[in-house]
């Protein structure tokens, strides 16, 4: 019973408390780039979750075999293999999503969430816990993407769930192709500035909620969230790169 609640905790912490995007500030690039439509967000979220769960399982299973000195390259190979598999599956079964996500699909390889979880969790914990950690983080990532995409798609394109049939076609349903809400949308919201703006506002809201519950707000100080922080000469353990770089320039 105790075992069960622990696994449940590994899963749920990724959803809200340690949400990878809104709390840990990881994986900002895909979050900003893909959240132009809810369909893309769901597709990207599922793809990243699959890679995250699989790579967490494999890395955790191999954690005693991989020498710690070359663990980062080893993790990258494992992650890249799964990304390639997912990429080929998406190309074959959901070509529309492949076109929509473009270069961001292979770029899951360098998504900080995945390498970050490998480094922070899967490399130190047993297989089952890592699997649930990956699942929770993946769902949390998808959740944050959907929140952003909902705001941006409704305001920026005047639609909701547009093109969802490319995903539901996998289950044989193609009749529902999304809502069209209004015809004079604010186009800038689906372009780059809108992405930054919505992310900033969502982040402010998340901080406000966290503060209301007495939690520290999400911080972005240099490399603290970066998976390379441990190995990186700049980070020097607990210090952020900014501090370190400041010292370097001062001396």
């Amino acid at each position: 019973m105790a075992e069960k609640t622990k696994l449940g905790k590994e899963f749920t912490k990724g959803l809200i408390k340690e949400n990878p995007v809104l709390r840990l500030v990881l994986g900002t690039c895909p979050t900003l780039a893909v959240s132009v439509s809810v369909t893309n967000a769901i597709g990207m979220g599922i793809a990243a979750t699959i890679v995250l769960v699989c790579s967490n399982i494999v890395i955790s299973a191999l954690r005693k075999i991989i020498p710690s000195k070359i663990r980062i390259p080893a993790y990258i190979v494992v992650i890249a293999s799964f990304v390639t598999i997912v990429q080929m599956l998406v190309k074959a079964f959901v070509p529309a999503l492949n076109d929509a996500l473009g270069v961001y699909l292979p770029l899951i390889v360098v998504n900080c969430i995945i390498l970050g979880r490998a480094e922070a969790f899967a490399g130190k914990n047993p297989v089952l816990a890592s699997c649930f950690d990956g699942l929770g983080m993946g769902v949390g990532f998808t959740f944050a993407l959907i929140v952003m995409a909902t705001i941006r798609e409704i305001i920026g394109s005047g639609t909701f769930l547009d093109g969802i049939d490319s995903l539901t076609a996998l289950f044989g349903a193609t009749s529902f192709t999304g809502f069209t809400l209004f015809s004079n949308p604010v186009g800038v919201m689906v372009m780059a500035p809108g992405g930054f703006l919505v992310f900033g506002l969502v982040m402010a809201l998340a901080n406000r909620i966290a503060e209301g519950r007495g939690k520290p707000k999400a911080e972005l100080d240099g490399c603290s969230g970066c998976p390379m922080a441990q190995t990186c000469a700049m980070a020097g353990g607990e210090e952020s790169c900014d501090n370190k770089a400041k010292e370097e320039s001062a001396s």
Binding site: V25, T28, C29, P30, L32, A33, I72, P73, I76, V77, A80, S81, V83, T84, Q87, M88, G102, V103, P106, L107, V109, V110, N111, C112, L115, V188, M191, A192, P193, G194, G195, F196, L197, F199, G200, L201, M203, A204, L205, N207, E211, K217, A218, E219, L220, G222, C223, C226, P227, M228, T231, C232, A233, M234, C241, D242, A245, K246, E248, S249
Partner: protein, 193 residues
């Protein structure tokens, strides 16, 4: 060539228009000198990575129908290359290592570097075009970093609503900088079109 360069620097700036390399953009742009150091290292690695991956892709992967291995091969080449450059610089040009070395490990997992290599292949550029595109992407990164570092230094002294302090206001500032880059849209087409 010039059109490719200007497009990638201004209208399709990797950071501000295509969301590649956001992590260092937001993380290292607090101070101007670190921003410049990081960007120079990025230009350097982007050019090297393109020079290394282009022949590998053309003569090894495409020839043997192994294009599906691109993602794995490219990331490994970039990771190995960055390590190698770091070791070589440390040994032979310590002054340059002092300036750039601390930024190099960060760049391995920078999506802009892998992104530029993959986009070069996707756009079907030849070697010279790929190099121009990579250096241009790096220069675009430099411009975005420098501009944004300036904006952030200004932000520091201002009073900001409590909920927006820190990361959110940085993003909103990035939004405004990015908005200004949208103004370049169409310029390249009009000049070279």
């Amino acid at each position: 060539m010039i059109a490719i360069f200007l497009t990638v620097v201004l209208t399709e700036n990797y950071v501000l228009c295509q969301f590649l390399g956001i992590c260092p953009f937001l993380g290292v742009s607090k101070k101007l000198n670190t921003a410049v150091g990081m960007s120079v290292a990025v230009i350097f690695v982007m050019a090297l990575a393109t020079a290394a991956t282009y022949p590998i892709n053309k003569y090894l992967l495409v020839k043997n129908d192994l294009e599906y291995l691109q993602t794995i091969v490219f990331i490994l080449v970039i990771a190995a290359l960055v390590q190698f450059v770091e070791i070589v610089l440390k040994k032979f040009i310590p002054s340059l290592y002092q300036a750039l070395g601390i930024y190099l490990p960060l760049i391995t997992t920078n999506c802009a570097v892998l992104g530029v290599v993959l986009l070069n292949v996707e756009s079907g550029y030849n070697f010279a075009q790929s190099m121009v595109n990579s250096v241009g992407a790096g220069v675009g990164f430099l411009i975005a970093m420098v501009l944004f570092a300036g904006v952030r230094e200004r932000l520091e002294g201002n009073s900001i609503p409590k909920a927006l302090q820190g990361f959110p206001i940085t993003l909103i500032a990035a939004s405004l900088v990015s908005l200004s880059f949208q103004g370049f849209a169409g310029i390249v087409e009009n000049i070279f079109g």
